[in-house]
Amino acid sequence: MHTHRKAWMGVCAALLSAVLLSGCTGTDEKDGQETLYLFNSKGENAEQFQQMCDDFTAETGIPTNAFSVGSGQDAIEPLRAQMNSKNPPAIFSMQGIKELHEWKESGRALDLTTVTDPDFKQIVDGIPADLRLTTDGQAIYGIPYNVEGYGFMVDSQMIADLFGADNAEAVIAALRDCSYEEFQAFCEAADAYIEAPSAASVALSGNTFQFLPQKTGRAQKLTGVFAFAGSEDWTYGDHLVNVALNAVFATAAEANAATDTQLDSLQGPLTAYAEALDFITQHVGGLKGATPRGSDLISAAGFGYDQSVQMYADGNDIFLQQGNWAAENIAKVDAEVANRSSFIPIKLPLTDDMIKTGKTAAEFNRCIPVYAPNYYAINAKASETAQQNAIRFLTWMQKPENVQKYIVGSFRAVPYNATPDTELTDSLSKSILQYMQEGRTLSAPYHGTPGTWSSDVLGRKLMEEYLTKADWTEADYAAIAEYGISTWKERKAAQS
């Protein structure tokens, strides 16, 4: 018995050592075909992505091996690990220009304009200029996953309950087109109405609308004008400031190559941004009523992302600054609200001279940011066969029937090349498509800012020092703008 135990211990030790020494061995070939490795950064659609890969394999015979990160997990670290592995992905995802430098410098990002395949070339050439992943305007390094957009969401039923069902559509249309000053007056009137309802009038885009004399329906639940996620610095750090950055930079690439002169010209737009944030945070409604700036406003327990979505969906607030990615979360609270919601642009008190991209302030305030959050890139260090398979996969994926089936149908996303014929499923996506078709879009220059400047530097500063401060002055607006510019310059210098 004793001898057996000793023998077993020896065998186990030898086996363990053998396993450790051998490492993992595998093959990257199946039935003589090289496996196409793919890295998917959207863990939320892992299952659907796998299904798409399986369908591709069934149709073409090219074996695929897809790796998806966990839902909600940061993708860049797993991607770096995959790139260092024995079988690096031939198709990988890139979160815009921020990540492009890394993969370009390492020689892994293939310039897609060098591909000669005519079908693929057509796809690359067809990517709209403002959605191209490029540093110089010539080389293109990615095919957009999809597009996302954001603005102030508004529920048509809420507007109907405030102004009457017959006026709802006209009020929303007027809100889309109105100026900052009109929007400000509308919000103040709405705030007064929440406090004490009366048949007051508001003027929007040349029309006058009258509130219903008494609160009805969803309006009875209102506690404030804006649902606000004060503890999420990316909402005002990344997204709100991005609107202001559009005044100087038309694309992320431009922001990425910002000169000191351009950065200095952000003083006006960033001051306008601070003024708008001041206004928004003076009209926030929480579960317990109107919530002034202070410690409660940045508490994750009361003003986090989930709570802001909940408050909007429950009808505690008229507007929520979020993007179409929030549609599913809103639907979980109230599917009807998600079905009725659309976007109105985030307005800033800009003047024409502050805008350097050719738009007027009026045009600017009629646009919403629409951009590609992620791109499919091809690994230039993958084998020639793997690159060819990757090209074939992306070409197959961009066939109109596959765009409809997978990107719209399975991933519930808005294709970057959506046409009026694209059958989108949710109301917010349809709203984005409408803005795209009307050419009323802004870009995502915040993707081109250094590192985590917009959220961790500017957003964090606002959260820690300003959202807890009751009154902001003109000097505060200027200080916020100056801080934003100086820290951008510092980060830029550290990177170079």
Partner: protein, 297 residues
């Protein structure tokens, strides 16, 4: 049996050695080498390993980084508070449980349970406790006892330090308590009887018998709490995410790779090496000091 172990010693320890070399030693050595290069996570900026050698630049950058220096000081302060709090609470719990006869097992289990929770989950649970239970229910002007310091504890650097310490004490005290209970059980009862006969009171017995004979356990617990406090990460991410200057050193190292693009893993690695050296020196000093106080009986 002895002959068997002597004969097959190397074969039997080989798995452990291989694991240690592959998972600890090699990555550490590679990391130390990379701290002198411009490693970007998947490639060396400038070409090969040799071409990307930057000497002590990464170490200079680390010390020139205000956030790194602040995180280092903040972590040291947090460690002092957490080590004292965890040890005092763990020892108090151990002494109490050592003196009760009924239900000791149940209490041991209950006190140990928080240790089963993961760091992130714990951080989010305590975020709710600090932001709702402390701020609105217990310590608000309308609460049980108005203590302003205990409200909004995640919104101020000093308060956040104590918030982190409260949370980690809740988490670790039960585990450390078990080590102390083991140490207390190893102290012979006749020493206490003799001391009692000689007229020594409870306080004197504690300082003259319990504490000196508990030193081996104190050495272990101090070492564990020191190391755990210095490398605290998940709880920091979940509870404060480093806001209001509450970034601990592990979070600082993690965020260094995100602060600029392309990521500068060389600097992050240099920060990690500095961190390792500091923790190693403090831990060795602590073990040496407490070992000197240990008595044999």
């Amino acid at each position: 049996m002895d002959r068997y172990y002597k004969r097959w010693f190397w074969l039997l320890v080989l798995p452990a050695i291989l694991l240690f070399v592959c998972i600890i030693a090699l990555p550490f050595l590679i990391g130390a080498v990379y701290s002198f290069t411009s490693w970007r996570g998947t490639y060396f900026a400038g070409g090969s390993l040799a071409q990307s050698f930057v000497g002590l630049d990464n170490y200079r950058s680390a010390f020139a980084n205000e956030q790194f220096v602040h995180a280092l000081l903040y972590t040291t302060l947090y460690t002092v508070v957490a080590v004292i709090a965890i040890n005092l609470v763990a020892l108090a719990l151990a002494l109490m449980l050592n003196n009760i006869r009924r239900g000791a097992g149940l209490f041991r289990t209950v006190f140990f349970l928080p240790n089963m929770l993961g760091g992130l989950a714990m951080g989010f649970v305590w975020q709710f406790i600090f932001q709702v239970v402390y701020t609105e229910l217990l310590f608000s002007p309308d609460g049980i006892l108005h203590v302003e310091f205990l409200r909004y504890m995640t919104q101020d650097g000093t308060k956040a330090l104590f918030a982190l310490a409260i949370m980690t004490t809740w988490q670790s005290a039960g585990y450390m308590m078990l080590i102390y209970i083991g140490g207390l059980n190893a102290i012979p009862g006749d020493l206490y009887e003799a001391a009692q006969i000689d007229g020594a009171g409870p306080v004197r017995r504690f300082f003259k018998i319990t504490l000196p004979l508990l030193m081996p356990s104190i050495t272990v617990v101090l070492f564990l709490t020191l190391a755990n406090s210095f490398k605290l990460l998940d709880q920091n991410v979940a509870l404060t995410d480093g806001a209001f200057g509450s970034r601990l050193i592990a979070l600082q190292i993690l965020r260094t790779t995100q602060d600029i693009t392309p990521p500068n893993y060389g600097v992050a690695q240099a920060q990690a090496v500095i961190f390792f050296v500091i923790v190693a020196i403090i831990s060795l000093l602590q073990v040496w000091l407490t070992r000197r106080k240990e008595v044999e009986f």
